[in-house]
């Protein structure tokens, strides 16, 4: 709603609405996404997907397919480059991982995993060819429910076992660099009979964990507690479901691979492709001008793009792989569901003195997911338990690969904790806002485990302020006494607190002030549509005091000399790239001052930059940016990019070198100090109205207040507040996966079956957002990202409102659909099979 405003200091651009430079292309349909590109002689390829949840390919006979006119070639897993070692930016070598996901496989680990691809002159021919392929499989044991594979005698989901175990890194030898993390290992783990019996009772057994951390003294904490709660909650698996699937088109030219793909990071997709393809980064060009949604699932695009890349090389023609919506269900990543058991000790006034958190993460077949650990870290930050232990198991299931989805792990952690917190408040007779306020993080709040007695802390937190502002906007105190039931309707209100990491550091900024006086800003961030990629450049205009229209922003192709940038993911961009933008602007400012001093006398610090000029303070001599750019070219060296600072990344160095000599080249790495880990926070308030005869409900009102530091672009910010909150609502309302456990087969592959929210499912006319508007003290313009914490707040505020309307005995899992509510109202208890996954 247009009522939303932010208050920021006297900035000229920061905190103001403006039109981003990509809008006209978007509204006219001229913006090109990966599938919109064509290349001369372009072929299409189609995938053969595994019909089985776990199998081994015994024989492939493609002779009939290859004989079909128009078929140009086939690619199987045998032709993929072997898993390669990976060297991180700081030189740490990660060994090749034979268990990592590849573009194609001979041992499919889930139904829908790609086995081979066929390239042909058109899709119809490629599809007909796939149908002509004869393929024999050996069936292998499988499980799509993490608790089934943990059960005694349950099937293993990989041949070696069913859970991931990550060994601790070896201690460095004296005088040597620390070794990189060791590869995760697969072990077999099954519950004891006693644990299985508890599972059968509907409680998640707290079994031996594969990961564990703690801080404080949990036993002492529980001893102090006046109330101890012990609850189990199950969160859904939900597909990221970007509206643009991960379609990719690839071709080769002079030994270089050109890939048109959909990615959240133009810059960082280059090393990802280089690693997947076993090639040098200098031979990879990524083109991604517009990305049709990512939500974490396209941080460096997807490994499936290696299929058109390799096929293109094999058949010597450009190859387009269009990913269908059904294929996207398999390849598009999903949030892993967590089964959580939470034991919490409260004092009478609601303070959490002890929290014992145990989660089972349904991680799909590849790699341990970070969600499990993140769920514990975020709970430790959001609710600041005095003493806490977190334990978890990363379970391998024969379901599609998981990946990050907005607030990965954090959303699940909040969803597991919030219902318990609400129930505790009811038991203690406390106000729901008050119990969150007494446990809210503030200042340099701690996060995660204590290592050698010391915990990490955040850069800042103003959650009590967010709760106060939200309670006022929502009229919480007035509404908490409202009638709950009338006629066939019940209404309830709920509040929830959420947090997530909101910014990385250490990236590069790069731009050239050219003799036309304009500033040509280069960025390697993906154009995801949150506009963070553009918004962060507002800092350049702000620092240099130039009109916004004088900036030309180049993005979308690594052939266009882009700097090393963060991905538009994990809410990093606004934080990381305003820092980089600030750093590079300060570099430009200094160079302008030096040039002015050189030509006009005096010292650099005698000069001011603004109004498209560098001029002597208090008036007097000066020169335009255009003149300074010309002088920079004449001066050469560091001024026009022929000398570069040593600390910038390899990609930035190469790009700056290519741009050298065109004007005043500014380049810098963000080296600003930061005390703490940057996190953002949201307090969400929801009202729901439930139809007691049908179990359906509507979210009738919502207020979200964010603690994100300085808001850069209010309208884009509001879009994220609504959009990410709505993602959370989806988790409460209807979104889920459905699997037939006997066949290991997905049943809800389509939107009408897995149910992402439509415009009529969300309170599109009753939504307010606000920000606490307190800048983060640890970053130059005080801004952090907002893409994550609205999710958990949105989901949990609605769940809490439902419990307020209907009582506690309604749900033990999300989403809470009409059937769950209706059956709970009928029977007086939450539904059967509380722990079964994917129902």
């Amino acid at each position: 709603m247009p009522t939303n405003k932010v208050n920021v200091p006297n900035y000229r651009f920061i905190g103001k609405n403006y039109t981003t430079p990509d809008m006209v292309a978007k509204v006219t349909g001229k913006s090109k996404y990966a599938e919109d590109f064509r290349a001369e002689g372009m072929l299409f390829c189609k995938l053969l997907l595994s019909p089985m949840p776990h199998a081994r390919v015994k024989r492939i006979d493609a002779s009939k397919a290859l004989a079909l006119p128009g078929v140009k070639g086939i690619l199987t897993a045998d032709e993929l480059p072997p898993p390669a070692a990976f060297i991180t930016d700081d030189g740490v070598m990660i060994p090749p991982d034979p268990r990592a996901e590849r573009g194609l496989t001979n041992e499919p680990l889930y139904q829908g995993e790609p086995i081979l691809a066929v390239a042909a002159v058109d899709e119809e021919t490629a599809a007909a060819a796939i149908e002509l392929i004869e393929i024999d499989f050996e069936r292998l044991p499988f499980a799509v429910d993490p608790l089934v594979t943990l059960s005694p005698g349950g099937p293993n989901t990989r041949n070696e076992g069913n859970v991931w175990v990550v060994p601790p890194p070896a201690p460095p030898k004296p005088g040597e660099r620390p070794a990189g993390p060791l590869l995760p290992d697969v072990k077999e783990f099954k519950w004891t009979d006693a644990e299985y019996a508890e599972y059968k009772q509907g409680k998640l057994p707290v079994s031996k964990p594969s990961m564990e951390w703690s801080y404080g003294d949990i036993d002492a904490g529980f001893k102090k507690a006046d109330l101890v709660m012990d609850e189990t909650f199950v969160t859904p698996n939900t597909s990221d479901q970007t509206l643009e699937t991960r379609t990719a088109m690839a071709y080769w030219q002079n030994g270089k691979l050109f890939v048109h793909c959909s990615t959240q990071s133009t810059a960082q997709t280059v090393p990802a492709i280089a690693r997947w393809m076993s090639m040098d980064t200098t031979n990879v060009v990524v083109i991604s001008e517009y990305t049709g949604g990512g939500f974490g699932s396209k941080v460096t695009s997807g490994i499936i793009l290696t299929v058109p890349a390799l096929l293109s090389k094999k058949v010597n023609a450009p190859v387009m792989l269009r990913i269908s919506r059904e294929e996207e269900h398999f390849l598009g990543r999903a949030r892993p569901g967590l089964h959580g058991r939470m034991k919490a000790g409260f004092t009478k006034d609601g303070r959490i003195v002890a929290l014992d958190m145990f989660v089972v993460c349904d991680g799909g077949p590849y790699g341990p997911q970070g969600d499990a650990n993140a769920s514990g870290r975020i709970v430790s930050l959001c609710y600041t338990p005095e003493n806490m232990r977190w334990r978890g198991i990363n379970v391998i299931t024969n379901t599609p690969p998981r990946g990050p989805q907005s607030q990965p792990g954090g959303a699940q952690g909040v969803m597991i904790m919030e219902p318990l917190l609400s129930n505790a408040a009811r038991k203690l007779g406390l106000d729901q806002v008050a119990i969150r306020r007494i446990n809210a993080p503030s200042g340099k709040a701690g996060i995660g485990p204590a290592i050698k007695g010391k915990r990490d802390h955040v850069t800042s937190a103003f959650v009590p302020e967010a709760l106060d502002k939200g309670a006022e906007l929502f009229r919480w105190n007035e509404r908490k006494n409202q009638t709950k039931k009338s006629g066939t309707k019940a209404r309830g209100i709920g509040v929830a607190v959420s947090a997530y990491s909101a910014g990385s550091i250490g990236f590069d900024g790069l731009f050239v002030i050219k003799p036309d006086g304009k500033i040509y800003v280069q960025t390697g961030i993906g154009n995801l549509g949150t506009e963070a990629m553009i918004d962060c450049q507002r800092v350049v205009a702000e620092v240099l005091g130039v009109p916004w229209e004088r900036l030309e922003i180049t993005w979308g192709s690594t052939a266009k000399h882009l700097p090393w940038s963060c991905p538009s993911g994990g809410s990093q961009t606004i934080h990381a790239m305003t820092r980089a933008a600030h750093a590079v602007s300060m570099d430009a400012k200094l160079k302008l001052q030096e040039i002015a001093a050189m030509d006009l006398g005096g010292k650099p610090e005698d000069y001011e930059v603004g109004g498209e000029r560098v001029y002597r303070k208090g008036g007097g001599a000066g020169m335009s940016l255009a003149q300074a750019a010309q002088r920079a070219i004449k001066l050469g060296g560091k001024y026009d990019g022929h000398e570069l600072p040593p600390e910038i990344a390899k990609m930035t160095k190469a790009s700056a070198t290519a741009l050298a000599g065109q004007g005043l080249l500014a380049v810098a790495k963000d080296k600003y100090k930061r005390d703490g880990i940057s996190n953002s926070y949201v307090a969400g308030f929801a009202e729901v109205e439930v139809d007691l005869e049908t179990g359906t409900y509507r979210i009738t009102d919502y207020v979200g207040v964010a603690d994100v530091g300085t808001v850069i672009h209010p309208r884009a910010f509001g879009g994220q507040m609504f959009g990410r909150t709505s993602l959370g609502w989806g988790h409460a309302l209807a979104q889920k996966w459905v699997y037939d456990q006997h066949y290991g087969a997905p049943l809800a592959k389509r939107f009408y079956q897995n149910r992402p929210p439509t415009i009529l499912d969300v309170p599109v006319s009753n939504f307010k957002w606000a920000a606490v508007d307190i800048p983060d003290p640890e970053t130059p313009v005080g801004a952090r990202g907002i893409g994550e914490p609205p999710v958990g707040a949105g989901a949990s505020a609605v769940l809490n409102a439902l419990a307020d309307a209907l009582g506690e005995q309604i749900y033990r899992r999300a989403p809470v659909t009409a059937d769950i509510i209706l059956m709970a109202l009928e029977t007086g208890k939450p539904g059967d099979e509380p722990l079964t996954a994917h129902i």
């Binding site: 128009g70 899709e123 007909a128 509206l243 995801l528 949150t530 884009a716 959009g723 009529l760």
Partner: protein
């Protein structure tokens, strides 16, 4: 190689005779078609009442376009792959996201679920047909620009076409009415609040224009 060509231009340079030749010669390649070209799996050409020609004329964005269309070809495919109008997006290809929405005789349709053969005598308008020839944005597009509606914008063309179509029936909708009018479009960024505000602004612009 790797020189990007606009298929729309390619179509224009082909004479009708070239196209017909391309159709007649079995397995020949019509360079205008990408998804459906040389195909070994085509059905036989019969002759009976109601049989259809492959070469059809459709009116798209006010222009008559002669195009070689497979029997099973959807309008979205023709627009995107034969006519180079890639502003129409395919989000699901199953009538459940709306990214492919175009107007057919002023009525919003999912072009993924319309056979091109069935729109021969009808007027199709896609997102590319909204702005005037001199580049002036349609008032609806202008509204979206003014309000910074949409995030990734993959759904945007479809939403705009739905809104323009709905406004022909209800030119002065309330916020709730417009939400219902565009409810056949899915936004996965879920920027629904800003989208609705922007489209309402567009509706206001249209009434003023």
């Amino acid at each position: 190689m790797a020189e990007m060509k606009n298929p729309e231009e390619t179509t224009k340079t082909l004479s009708r005779r070239d196209l017909i030749k391309g159709v007649i010669a079995a397995g020949a390649v019509s360079s205008a078609g990408y998804l459906f070209r040389a195909s070994g799996v085509r059905a036989q050409q019969p002759s009976a009442a109601g049989s259809v020609e492959r070469l059809v004329t459709i009116t798209v964005n006010g222009q008559q376009r002669r195009v070689d269309v497979m029997k099973q070809e959807t309008l979205a495919t023709t627009l995107r792959y034969k006519l180079g109008l890639t502003g129409t997006k395919l989000g699901c290809d199953r009538a459940e996201c709306g990214a492919c929405t175009v107007l057919i005789d002023d009525v919003p349709h999912y072009s993924c679920s319309v056979l091109t053969q069935s729109v021969r005598a009808r007027k199709v308008v896609s997102i590319e047909g909204l702005a005037s020839a001199d580049g002036k944005l349609h008032p609806m597009q202008q509204g979206v620009v003014e309000e910074q509606g949409f995030q990734c914008a993959f759904c945007m063309s479809g939403f705009i076409m739905s809104a323009v179509g709905f406004l022909k029936v209800n030119p002065k909708p309330t916020r709730t009415e417009l939400a219902h009018g565009i409810s056949g479009n899915l936004c996965r960024c879920q920027d629904y609040d800003k989208i609705l505000t922007a489209l309402l602004k567009g509706a206001e612009n249209m009434r003023r224009a």
